[in-house]
């Protein structure tokens, strides 16, 4: 199926290692057909930005990758493992796939450090000392090591989101999913989070990012995917995508968000 897919649905990078493969994925919420025949292949190290109007299924798409949502038809293969109802495989995939949410979803009853060490200790069975070392390493990378002993509620939105990124990185994931990571932030906080994401992208992390930050898409994306009504409408390199959108719907969308 991937052989017949149009160029935009194949990786823009020339590395042929596949990170994520979606073949004919369909999903319904009750009667509502939220994902329709999604074919998408993402290569290792590729950065993909997904945009589209609200309700277009873009969040659902990436939430299917780590099985926060279940797809009903088609195949999703993440890092060579196909997602089925097998709970073991789901946990295996979730260990390899980090996710950053719009509302951070930090654990408010744990300190920043405990937020970061929780999964390494309990899921990877890492000794506490090592886990704390790893956590401090990543907290330093997102530039908030001094907040380690505070609670999430004591931090600003931007700081919380950077902690959420560090928390995911502590599991050394191969793939990172970002679900509108800057949409819930005050305008003054957006840049610090985007900077963190850019740094991550520059290190070669495989990323799928649902965002409306078109500047970010231009700067780091290898591919931009535009979705509407549960379908991929257009997929292209950012240069082409912004300079010469082909589909009528894409042009309309871009004219709405790029004033």
């Amino acid at each position: 199926m991937t052989n017949t897919a149009p160029a935009g649905l194949k990786p823009a990078k020339l590395t042929h290692e596949t990170a994520i493969e979606m073949i004919g994925v369909n999903k319904w919420y009750g009667e509502f057909h939220v994902l329709r025949d999604i074919d998408l292949t993402i290569a290792r190290g590729e950065r993909v930005v997904v945009c589209g109007p609200s309700g277009s299924g873009k969040s659902t798409l990436i939430r299917c990758v780590n099985r926060l949502e279940e797809h009903q038809k088609g195949r999703i293969i993440v890092d060579g493992v196909e997602l089925t109802n097998d709970l073991k495989r789901i946990d295996e995939i979730r260990r390899e796939v980090g996710m950053v949410f719009q509302h951070f979803n930090l654990f408010p009853h744990l300190t920043i450090l405990e937020n970061c060490t929780l999964a390494p200790i309990w899921v990877k069975k890492m000794p506490k000392k090592d886990a704390e070392e790893v956590a401090m390493h990543y907290l330093t990378r997102v530039k908030i090591p001094e907040q380690a002993l505070k609670y999430p509620g004591q931090l600003s939105g931007g700081q919380q989101q950077r902690v959420a990124i560090a928390r995911s990185l502590c599991m050394s994931p191969k793939i990172m999913l970002f679900d509108e990571p800057t949409s819930a932030l005050d305008p003054e906080m957006v840049k610090e989070v985007l900077d963190t994401m850019v740094a991550l992208a520059e290190e070669g992390m495989t990323m799928i990012c649902v965002t409306h930050e078109m500047g970010f898409a231009r700067q780091v994306a290898d591919r931009v995917i535009f979705m509407d009504q549960g379908q991929i409408v257009e997929a292209n390199t950012p240069d082409e995508f912004f300079r010469d959108p082909r589909h009528e719907r894409t042009r309309l969308f871009l004219s709405q968000i790029l004033h």
Binding site: N66, R95, F107, A119, V123, R167, S168
Partner: protein
Amino acid sequence: MTVTEPPGVAPGNRGNADFVRSAMAPAAKPPSSEVGAIAWLRHNLFTGPLNTLLTIGLVLLGYWTIPPLVDYLFIDAVWTGSDREACIYTAERTKVGACWAFVVDRAAFFTYGFYPLAERWRIDVFFVLLVIGIVWLLHLRAPRKDLAAIYGFVFLPVASFLLLSGTPSLGLPTVPTNLWGGMMVSVVVSAVGIVVSLPLGILLALGRRSNMPAAKLFCVIFIEFVRGVPLITVLFMASVMLPLFVPDYMQPDKLLRALVGIALFASAYMAEVVRAGLQALPKGQYEGAMSLGLGWGQMMRLIILPQALKITIPNIVNTYIGLFKDTTLVVIVGIFDFLKAIEASRIDPTWAAPTVSTTGYIYASIFYFFCCYAMSAYARSVERRLAVADKR
């Protein structure tokens, strides 16, 4: 924009802006009419005509009720004596208040029931162990909460059983439960209800929210059935119906049957309280935990339950208060609880005096009020702490 120059605007330095602040306004103190005792009175007691009227009414009510109450409870009260003679009207004693001599005389009976005199120290030890457990578990800054949980939920029940019921192998003669009575029975029944209903309630709540249809159905049926039946019915079923279904030689103990009934009843209510807490947590907490690869058990134990139980503490305590008072109902299946001990002494001819009944009931209400108020004060202090934590 404005014709007159607003203060704080430097003239001639305006550029294109209509208004540029040159100095920030400092924070000022509120006017004196808004602070101090007079302001407090005005804001709280005499806000308007209705509020003023209510204040005066309440002051009058206090004036009419409190002095007679003090007279009855303390000034005219009888403190010493060994039988009814102390509390009856005589030529020189025309006013008799509360007959505390009765309570003092029967205090041991109220506390221990018919428990053999020589073995009553076992009940005292039980009370001490219980208080240690309560303080250790509930004091928020107490060390080693994990040990406290083991102490409270494993050691304490086992030790209490061995102590109270007796273990001949340890040199503690068996005391059959029909000799148990008084405050000790009320405390045992409440403690068992409290200790069993929380874990069982959590399991039922998790079961009710589970994706497994069989477990869910079982939990829903159990919870709804128990909640749909009055406690008295449950107690009757446990003590009257149950013996009909089991052979004579395995008749469960009467107290045990009531304990099981109360514990199951309380669990159903606790399950609904815990479920409310589980539902109050945002979906993001579940998703955050799942996305990190935590399994269901780890997610519940490490992320969901600590938060859900914390926000439900006031409601859990509320359920406990209800349960504690409901334990007086065991009297209808013939168990001799605290209230029943008072009731039995009150009609005892040895203490037939006009104010004995009232005094007995006052003593009961002091006991119940003290316990319930302690629980609710604790719940409120936790609530306050949570409010502070939320502002963090």
